[in-house]
Amino acid sequence: MPKNKNDILQGTLALLVLKAIAAQGRMHGYAITAHIQRVSADLLRVEEGSLYPALHRMAQDGWLRAEWGVTEKNRQARFYSITAAGRRQLELEEESWARLRDGVQRVLRYA
């Protein structure tokens, strides 16, 4: 299967998810995919296959807190919210993303 061009770069999923939740507060998995897709103007699409393992890993690492709740449509869903550790992690990820972006840009510009 050829790689979809709007696949999310390895390692940035956590950044995106943390950012989304930090901005929006409590969210369930579907809302996260929808949010990222909408905000990125459909440039980025989160694969479910990566999202849920990532969410569970982040919950285990203590970056996210997970709990069951009810949506407006009265459906049971698992909601994620960010913890203090998650916010610290988000800062780190943002920094390292900025470095990566600068680095890549410099390479593209001067190489």
């Binding site: 479910e48 296959g49 285990q60 698992r78």
Partner: protein
């Protein structure tokens, strides 16, 4: 994710699967809604959503794996790593595991005793339904009370009664006693206990005039009959009466008394066979039975108590003992009936040893804490060596929590290895303890097999220990700034001052705790020594005690014949070569038996009820000289004190002082209570020195000795005291031969007065021995801790010390520097330990004799001992520091 959720994920994977299912199907449902909103048909939307989602099962699996296996995998990796690091430092591992094994093993040993004595349920069907019937909180009942309750109660689905006894297996000659139970007919069926061979006793066996039958325990079957199948129908001689064996009881069952193991069960009605009459069966004042019922389903204990209370009027009428004083009758009529659970059985051990076991548990807990501090110190030292590794990992982005977890895995692993070895110490130690608590005449039998509570306790202790001693080093290790730690490969000159403050604090704690144990040990050892050497008022050396019973063959002897048999026996014994003196008595001192009675005397009225209660004994002439008790005034019993003559008594000084004060007791009269009345007056002809009666611990008690020669109704068993010229055991054959000439079928039970006294001191002796052992162990561990920390400090400060020496510091100056640090550690430890001791030693006050728990001399002595041992241990590193060659020390850098 919480620990709870993690454990739940491992234990209940289905639950996790459900959660995931719900979460993922929610996602698909939302997607379908979106697609439908964009104009797709529901069917197409469903297909599309599925397609977009990809392989659902795989998705689920991979998400689930994250939760469970990641956690388990990390654990396994940590364990592998821990094992590897332990293998790399075998000396450290062995020292740590052994000291933990000692600590954990000691805890497990004491706990398994507590478990066996207090916590274990009886090995019977549904023990929680079993209730003992209490009358005014008293567990004992007479046979008439039992029969009345059995025939009139309606709250139990089954009832039983039993009484403890001992039977003599030997038919004449040396006595061989075994523990046995008198049991009612429904005993085994109510308990739900089966026979493994033959049958149990049945209700039909327990009727008036029953034949002599017995059921035997499995262990008795093995030791006496080699487990032979032909045992059923054979006879066993019990107190000289033949009993037919009808069955062998389930090996798991030991009776209802925790701490003893009944070997023989005989029906209650068989008492008639033993006694030759129905007296005991109908006796309303013979209290020897426990009544137990199995609660009916749906009946609460409160209801059962209330129903039993309703039986009282009828019960009083049918069972009131005759000839009781009016106040006792009133109390009997108003008695309160109730039931209480006996799921864990009956036990005298519980009351005797509860406090002792509690003290021991505290002691071994403290030993474990000290061992923990030692291992924590070892780990701290190691953590310093591993600081570089840890710093690198931190710098590479390892989270401190992750490192702490890994270090804790290592310490918990160590603790569990210690526990695994400790279990063997525990098995051996608890059996040793039971042997220490047993006496020759009264063996303690406990089921000490490893069961779930003991294993769970050991595992919990290991877990707690592992975390306790691992947490400090792990925390410490992860708080270093990586760049400092990596740099510190090049050791700074004054490095190591603050770094070891935690290690030193641990040593301070060790010294404080070991001072507590040393003080406890000195107190208990001192009390035991005082108890063992206190003047008991008699001389216990070279006294052979003989309990002789010649009922067999003399059942029909008249009182005169019985009296003359005793006299002849005593004369024969006095003539045996090697015997210096001999006497006879009803009771021997410190034997565990006692006999007391109210007395009345000329010009003496007891201030309160029971104030006229004195200890009694009936003795022959020569008793006081044989026992070595001084005659203070008047005369001993002699040949003029015969049945027809005026009745005479001898009292001790405590009685004379209490009853007659400053007046001479000689020539005064006392009267001994007999039911509501008093017997005729007895004249006091002598006063003797105070002697211990019931225990070595007692203060002088008033004792009245009455004349054995004047007994109207002498029994057919008596105690003889024989003072020998040489070793006591050497004359036993001669004694046996002398008795055989008069009563060939007599049963004889020999012991010595020394042994009788020693056995009464088994609890203080056991406690003192253990306290001494653990005190020395604690001292040793603390000393090792101090030695270790000082060696380490000196090693870390080599450079600094080298520089000092190079700059002209003398050896004395360096030693002074190291030792003043030792002095500070020991000083602070001793101060904290003293405060601790003052607040805690009250716990052992019940076991102390002749010393207060806060005895200043003991505390000073213990503190001084501890300080000296500690300072001697620290001399070696100090001396090493002083002998340091500055050139080598400085070149190392």
């Amino acid at each position: 994710m919480s620990w709870f959720a993690r454990i739940r994920n491992v234990v209940l994977p289905n639950r996790l699967s459900d959660d995931l299912d719900r979460e993922l199907s929610f996602h698909i449902a939302e997607r379908i809604d979106d697609l439908v909103a964009h104009g797709m048909t529901p069917d197409a939307a469903r297909r599309e959503a599925r397609r977009q989602f990809g392989n659902y099962a795989l998705q689920k699996e991979s998400t689930r794996d994250r939760d469970v296996f990641r956690w388990l995998e990390t654990l396994l990796a940590d364990l592998r790593y821990a094992l590897r690091t332990l293998r790399a430092a075998p000396a450290f591992a062995i020292v740590a595991i052994l000291s933990l094994a000692l600590g954990i093993g000691a805890n497990a040993a004491i706990f398994s005793l507590i478990n066996a004595v207090m916590l274990k349920s009886l090995p019977v069907r549904q023990p929680e339904e079993l209730m003992v019937v209490l009358r005014d909180s008293s567990k004992t009942a007479t046979n008439p009370i039992w029969e009345y309750v059995r025939d009139h109660q309606d709250v139990f689905s089954g009832t039983l009664a039993y009484g403890q006894t001992q039977f003599n297996l030997a038919n004449g000659g040396q006595v061989r006693n075994v523990d046995a139970n008198w049991v009612s007919g429904a005993y085994f069926s109510t308990l739900g206990v089966r026979a493994i061979l033959g049958r149990t006793l049945l209700p039909a066996d327990d009727t008036r005039g029953c034949p002599a039958v017995a059921a035997i325990s499995s262990s008795f079957w093995q030791t006496e009959y080699g487990g032979s199948g032909a045992v059923i129908g054979r006879t066993v001689s019990l107190d000289g009466h033949p009993f037919q064996i009808v069955g062998v009881i389930d090996p798991a069952f030991f009776g209802l008394d925790v701490g003893s193991h009944a070997q023989i069960y005989t029906p209650l009605c068989a008492k008639t066979i033993m006694n030759g009459n129905d007296k005991w069966i109908d006796a309303r004042s013979t209290w020897y039975l426990h009544i137990v019922g199995r609660r009916k389903a749906g009946v609460t204990p409160a209801q059962a108590s209330a129903r039993l209370q309703l039986l009282m009027p009828g019960l009083v009428e049918a069972t009131l003992p005759p000839k009781w004083p009016a106040d006792a009758v009133a109390r009997y009529q108003k008695a309160h009936m109730e039931v209480a659970s006996v799921a864990t059985g009956f036990s005298d051990l519980r009351t005797t040893f509860r406090k002792a076991l509690f003290v021991l548990m505290t002691v071994v807990g403290i030993v474990l804490l000290i061992a923990c501090a030692n291992v924590a110190n070892l780990l701290l030292a190691r953590a310093t060596k591993r600081q570089h590794e840890i710093a690198v990992r931190l710098a590479l982005g390892a989270r401190p929590a992750r490192l702490i977890r890994q270090l804790l895995t290592e310490s918990v692993l160590l603790a569990f290895m210690g526990a695994a070895v400790g279990i063997f110490f525990a098995i051996w130690g608890s059996r040793l303890l039971v042997r220490l608590m047993s006496t020759s005449g009264n063996a303690v039998a406990l089921d000490l097999s490893l069961d779930l509570p003991v294993l769970a306790f050991t595992a919990a202790v290991a877990m707690a220990t592992g975390i306790l001693f691992g947490l400090a080093p792990a925390w410490r290790a992860c708080r270093v700034a990586p760049h400092n730690a990596m740099k510190s490969q090049a050791r700074g000159v004054a490095d190591g001052h603050s770094r070891f403050s935690m290690g030193k604090a641990l040593v301070v704690v060790q010294i404080a705790l070991s001072l507590l144990l040393v003080v406890g040990a000195v107190l208990l050892l001192g009390s035991w020594r005082r108890l063992a050497t206190v003047n008991p008022g008699f001389r216990s050396d070279h006294v052979l005690l003989l309990a002789a019973d010649w009922r067999s063959g003399n059942e029909s002897a008249s009182p005169e014949q019985r009296s003359s048999l005793r006299r002849q026996m005593l004369e024969r014994l006095r003539a045996v070569p090697g015997v210096r003196m001999a006497s006879a008595s009803e009771l021997t001192p410190i034997s565990g038996s006692g006999w007391n009675n109210d007395i009345k005397a000329d010009g003496y009225t007891p201030a309160v009820r029971d104030d006229g209660l004195v200890w009694m004994n009936e003795v022959s002439d020569g008793y006081f000289s044989t026992m070595g008790t001084a005659l203070v005034a008047g005369r001993d019993f002699n040949a003029t004190d015969v049945p027809g003559a005026a009745r005479v008594a001898i009292v001790n000084e405590a009685l004379a002082q209490k009853v007659f004060g400053a007046h001479s007791a000689i020539g005064k009269h006392i009267q001994v209570a007999n039911g509501n009345d008093f017997d005729p007056p007895i004249e006091i002809v002598g006063v003797v020195g105070n002697a211990k009666y019931e225990s070595m611990r007692e203060t002088p008690q008033p004792i009245a000795y009455i004349s054995m020669a004047q007994d109207d109704d002498p029994g057919l068993s008596v105690n003889f005291e024989i003072r020998t010229v040489g070793p006591t055991t050497a004359i036993i054959p001669g004694i046996k031969a002398a008795v055989a000439q008069i009563a060939p079928r007599a049963s004889l039970d020999f012991t010595t007065l020394d042994r009788q006294v020693a056995e009464s001191l088994r609890l203080p002796r056991t406690l003192a021995t253990l306290a001494g052992f653990f005190g020395v162990l604690a001292l040793l561990l603390a000393t090792i801790g101090l030695y270790g920390i000082m060696s380490y400090t000196v090693a870390r400060r080599r450079n600094e010390i080298g520089v000092r020496i190079a700059l002209g510091a003398t050896q004395g100056r360096v030693i002074h520097m190291v030792m003043s640090e030792v002095g500070r550690i020991v000083g602070v430890g001793v101060i904290i330990g003293t405060l601790l001791t003052l607040s805690v030693t009250r716990l052992v006050s019940a076991f102390l004799y002749g010393v207060k728990p806060s005895d200043p001399a003991t505390i000073v002595l213990s503190a001084a001992t501890l300080a000296i041992v500690a300072i001697v241990a620290a001399m070696l590193p100090a001396w090493r520091a002083a002998r340091l060659d500055p050139v080598t020390a400085l070149r190392e850098n």
